[in-house]
């Protein structure tokens, strides 16, 4: 067995950690785009569309992310698509993220008091003008803290991509452990890696929340 110094372990984890960050960013950016579209469809579309969006959200919220990853990776293979672990993980995490963000954002739009719609309507603004000038700016403010908070779930969610062979922080930890067999040190370092990524985000979300509700906007 090769001798691994602590630095060797840390260095390898850091290198793999890059992919955790990249996958998180892809999932979050992709999820935000799809999620925004879904939110608008769910708020304004025809009832069959609204119903479909709700089904989509319920499906992704009601099944484990692990199964979604399996289905994206192995399911695609069964259907004859040869996709890489990269693609599968990106797609599954994007869809997962979009479902949750859609639900969070819908809640934020609905949290804007109905008096705001009425005031806009009485002043002659149509649906899109009301959304753009009155409702969305307020919903956006409400949405920032829970959205930042949810990004933590996305980062931790990427750990599951290790099971389909995607080499990120967790997978690198497992591989290093197979070689070095120092589970406590290695997995403690892996955990620390996630904590370093997530903790500033949760703190930031909490800060935003305080700023939002502490300002006494109402």
């Amino acid at each position: 067995m090769t001798d691994f110094t602590l630095w060797d372990i840390v260095r390898n984890l850091l290198l793999a950690g890059r992919w955790t960050v990249v996958l998180s960013l892809i999932a979050f950016a992709g999820g935000a785009c799809v999620g925004l579209m879904l939110t608008l469809l769910r708020m304004g579309g025809l009832w069959p569309i609204r119903w479909l969006v709700r089904l989509y959200v319920d499906l992704f919220q009601g099944t484990p992310l692990l199964m979604q990853l399996f289905l994206a990776y192995f399911g695609a293979a069964v259907l004859g698509f040869d996709i890489s672990a990269w693609t599968a993980a990106s797609v599954a995490l994007t869809l997962f993220t979009s479902a949750f963000l859609c639900d969070i954002w819908r809640g934020c739009v609905e949290a804007v008091p109905s008096g705001q719609w009425q005031a806009a309507r009485v002043l002659g603004l149509n649906y899109l003008q009301s959304m753009r000038h009155v409702i969305l700016p307020q919903a956006l403010r409400l949405a920032v803290p829970p959205t930042v908070g949810f990004s933590v779930q996305v980062i931790k969610g990427t750990a599951l991509a290790s099971v389909i062979g995607f080499v990120e922080l967790t997978k690198a930890g497992t591989m290093l452990n197979n070689a070095a067999f120092a589970p406590f040190t290695i997995f403690a370092l892996v955990a620390l890696g996630y904590f370093i990524l997530c903790y500033p985000l949760s703190r930031y979300a909490r800060y935003l929340e305080r700023k939002l509700y502490g300002a006494g906007s109402r």
């Binding site: 008096g115 005031a119 009485v122 002659g124 003008q129 000038h133 006494g216």
Partner: protein
């Protein structure tokens, strides 16, 4: 020719018939107070006048033009009928001047400079010119309501509807809002107010309409109406609030 002509207005919410045939004509420059118990349909009536509620039957004309049934777009409606709410409903993310300028700029497509001029004029009228850059949260209830009045006036409507505009205010702030309405009335603005301020209804309005169970039960000039009510329902109502 009446400015507002309401004909046989009916409105139900499910099985509950809230308006059971309202007929009312209002002249330009008239100030009409609508009084009555809660549930008598007075707020619903007001909300039908600017189509926040769609009535089931009857017609509403404004200056001989059909107003209801989709005859006017929201944009046209807002330039005919303004409304002030009990809960102000100012846009909290916009400053006072932005609140007042929004509809003229977005709906009427008034150039910003001109819209600002109009907004300043209206804010001056309600005595809020010095708070132009404040956010609603920084204002008292009375100040917010005065801004809301300026915002409605900025669309230069022919009629201003006021839905219990002083009900959410602390007692010491009621006066400043009523004072603004009084000066609007003096300028000849047509006002239709749903109100619990009987003193105001008596002193400022030209006509008082008493609603009861979805009908106009009694109407007339305030002096006669308050001192010599014809129906037992109105005398009971007056007795209950005095």
């Amino acid at each position: 020719m009446a400015l507002v002509a309401v004909n046989d207005l009916h409105k139900s919410f499910g099985d509950l018939e809230v308006l059971k045939g309202i007929d009312l004509e209002i002249e330009a420059g008239e100030v009409v107070s609508v009084i009555g118990r809660s549930g008598s349909g007075k707020s619903t009536f007001l909300r039908c006048l600017n189509q926040l509620e769609h009535h089931d039957w009857g017609t509403i004309h404004l200056a001989d033009q059909r107003l209801d049934g989709g005859a006017m777009s929201p944009g046209e409606l807002s330039q005919n009928v303004g409304m002030v709410f009990q809960s102000f409903n100012l846009f909290p993310h916009k400053t006072v001047i932005e609140n007042v300028m929004l509809a003229p700029v977005v709906v009427k497509q008034t150039p910003r400079a001109e819209a600002r001029q109009i907004a300043e004029q209206m804010l001056d009228k309600v005595g809020m010119l010095e708070k132009i850059d404040a956010y609603p949260a920084q204002l008292s209830g009375g100040q917010q309501q005065r801004v809301a009045i300026a915002r409605a006036l900025a669309m230069q409507p022919k009629v201003l509807l006021c839905d219990e505009v002083t009900s959410a205010l602390d007692p010491e702030l009621v006066g400043e809002v009523l004072h603004v309405l009084e000066s609007l009335a003096a300028e000849g603005m047509t006002l239709i107010l749903v109100t619990h301020e009987m003193k105001f209804a008596r002193d400022v309005s030209h006509r008082v309409v008493f609603m009861h169970h979805g009908h106009i039960h009694e109407a007339g000039d305030p002096q006669t109406l308050f001192t010599q009510p014809k129906t037992p329902e109105l005398s009971q109502f007056i007795a209950s609030i005095l």
